[in-house]
Amino acid sequence: MFGRKRPVSDFNAEIEAHLQLEIERLKEQGLSEQEARAAARRAFGNVMHAEERFYESGRWLWWDHLRQDVHFGLRMLAKSPGFAAVAILTLALAIGANTAIFSVVDAVLLRPLPFIDPARLVWATEHFAFGPSTVISADFPAWKDRNHVFEQIAAFGGTSGANLTGAGEPSRVTVTRVTTGLFSMLGLQPAAGRAFLPAEGKQGQDKVALLSETLWRNRFGSDPRTIGETIRLDGAGYIVVGVMTANVRPQADVWTPLALDADIFSAHSPRWMMLAAIGRLKPGIEISKAQSDLQVLTQEMNKEYPPEAAQFRAHETVEVIPLHEMMVHNVRSLLLILLGTVGFVLLIACANVANLLLSRSVVRGRELAVRAALGAGRLRLVRQLLTEALLLATIGGLLGSITGLWATKILRQLIPATLPADVHFDPRVFGFSAAIIALALLIFGLIPALIASRTDVNETLKEGGLRLGASAGTHRLRGLMSVGEIGLSLILLVGAGLMVRSFLRLTEVDLGFDPNSLLLATVERPLTAAFDSQQHSAFFQSSLERIRSLPGVKEAALTQRYPLGPPHNATMILRVQGAENFRPSQPISVTAISPDYFHVMRIRLLKGRAFGDRDVEGAQKVVIVNESFSRMVFGGRDAIGQHIGFGEPSPTWKEVLGVVADAREDALEKEPGPEMFVPYLQQPSFSMTFMLRTESSPLMLAGGVREAVLSIDKNQPLSDTTTMEEVIAKSVAPRRFRMLLLGLFALLALSLAMIGVYGVIAYSSTQRTHEFGVRIALGADRQDILKLVVRQGFKLALLGVSMGVAGALLVTRFLSSLLYEVSPHDPLTFAGVAALLMLVPLAASYIPARRAMKLDPIVALRYE
């Protein structure tokens, strides 16, 4: 029924049959074979014509033309491999970069959380005048039982470490304590066994544990019999009830239940736990309503706390935000900046390819005119050019998707660990970039086609085709595009430059200690009643002595925490003898150390003396403070010999022995804050880090340290061994990654812009060959010709740079959160980048200028 599906051969057979029948009829009338054939053909009319009309009525022609176009397009591309390579590479890089970044944005910002009904999940926290925002454990029961806004609310404690003993070597695992309803509220199912029962949120029944799939596999060989077994965490037994899948948040190796009737949930407890809370709002409840409801509850709670708590509970506020927002807010601005950056790169790439296509349309003017003269319809010509543009887009897009695939893997580290999301190469995103590029190609592939089809074929052929499409308008368009490219890449380069400057600033920071040849080995003792604090001290002291005697160790010391390491203990409660009204304005960190810590770290002692062998348990309590502390607490007075107390409402007085120089403790970016150091023998800690100043490469001693520790306690694993240099590198790694990423995109933009500018200048100087010839013939110096060419590049550069600087001044402020001690309008960076970009057009005009200078006037004058 569908004539179009009828094959050509069938149609031809029918015509052949017709002719035969006619011939036979005519022969019957007495005509000879030859006469009959001729008559039949005449009566039929034009056989070819009928066939052609059949052909054109079908799909065949369309397909055929496409095949021809593609074939011809490929041949054209192969004929100018330079053009093809540049265009395809440009597209591939831009599509790849966009695809990769957009994939991360999609995974982190756009996709909903992989929990049940994630839109109603919120994060609730309390803010205090100092310290991290958290939910104080004693407030949580009120939130849970007396709120009017949540269908369910759950909490979990910060992740801590524990020594897992039993099967095999003792190992250090992370443990997170969660309220029993957390996983079911999120909709997370165990991979094996069961989740916690509500009854297990009570003391006495809470000695149960869930394992992570990773731990279950690595340590227990995924043996289903593990469920029901008892594992020992810091010596205490827990029955394994289930295994959780890998996408569980909060992440940990082991989860144990929080018993809501435990001491820490009472307002009168001597210590509270810092919790994080996640709730599921009742349907239709606004976030603001939830926030005010919790705020009221927390204020009611104030009455139940003892009076000493009033100080820290003053100015307490509650904040409720969507869970998703809380999980991504650290990376949101960075991702948006990166998205903007690759967007710029995409724009530049589009401008570049359009530029290239425009230049080509000029060169191909003659060819198109010839084809038009031979009878190619306008539509056919336009289609030919579009096919070529789409060919570029397709090849570029394919390569781009490969680049994207590869880049997405690198960018995976932009995803915050708290977010249970993974980037995978997203075809939607790829389609988005490809569509943009294809659109640009269509628009700019079309312009030359339209110009060509508008032109009078006769004129063009007479003129030799060179001037086709070289209208002033086209040329101005190309100039503008190069200006735009220069402007955009200037913005990106300024951004990257600011990041580089920040990074350099950071590496020049005075650490306050010497990070070279320093090995760090952290040991965390089990937190159980079986080990009292004196035993901890004894263990650390004998380990330290054994480690000191290891060959290759120059000096060794102990500290509760090391610079740029995990967060530390801090207190807001400080009493100063003789200044009873003194209240600290910020938390003060407290670190227990062994006497020679400052010496090993090369932290300078400014005044007084360091700890000695006499400063032990039972002797006068002593403390050493840093410079910031001395300035904050004592101002101009001498700190040495003063007495201070901290940590408890009625503290024991400690004598200030010495003042040490400030060192960077929290982060390289962060100015040192007030610090106090105490001898670990007077204030024992269960977790200490051995600091070893070594003779050669520090990590070579890691094995020796492990053995020394095991020789004192065969159940004691090392939590972590690393070097100070590694710690520093890790602390700046995100910044470094951001810098490299932005720098890479900026360089990409720069090289694209350079290609674009080169194209414009090279083209226009080819156009002016004739003019140059005349000038040279009339006695113009080669230098003058050089000036002519370079001046053009210079004009483009000046325009582009001034536009770029204006643009950069507007947008760099979005970077300020990522900068360190560099103003977003840093004049040095701006000037440097502007100067660099002024050079780009000069460099780009070098080859055309050389060519113009070497012109032979005779040849040039003949040239058309």
Partner: protein
């Protein structure tokens, strides 16, 4: 066939060929050459049908579903593609013929009584 003869034949009006084909097929299945012959004979050689023009028309009618085609064997044992009128084709023929009759009557009225020959 002289040239003069050919000039006196009427060129077909646009659209009339379709009608003629449908009309010819009322008498039963026929192949292209047969249709061409039949038109020429029935019109007593007044109408000029360029056989080549027939096929695009057949093609069109087939696409519209008014005729159907199948390969078969002709009276003198040749393979040929036979066309038959479909149900819709029959309806279309009635519609078209009525239209055509009305049109020719109208034109006849405008042109007035036939001028005497000679």
């Amino acid at each position: 066939m002289s040239t003069r003869e050919e000039k006196e034949r009427l060129a077909l009006l646009q659209g009339t060929l379709d009608l003629l084909i449908l009309r010819t097929l009322v008498f039963g299945p026929q192949h292209g050459q047969g249709i061409a012959r039949a038109i020429q004979q029935t019109s007593e050689d007044t109408l000029l049908v360029e056989h080549g023009a027939l096929y695009p028309a057949l093609q069109r009618l087939e696409a519209q579903g008014w005729i159907a085609a199948r390969w078969g064997t002709s009276a003198n044992n040749r393979k040929a593609r036979f066309y038959t009128l479909t149900q819709t084709g029959r309806k279309q023929l009635v519609k078209e013929s009525t239209r055509w009759r009305r049109l020719s009557t109208a034109i006849g009225r405008i042109l007035g009584p036939e001028a005497k020959e000679g």
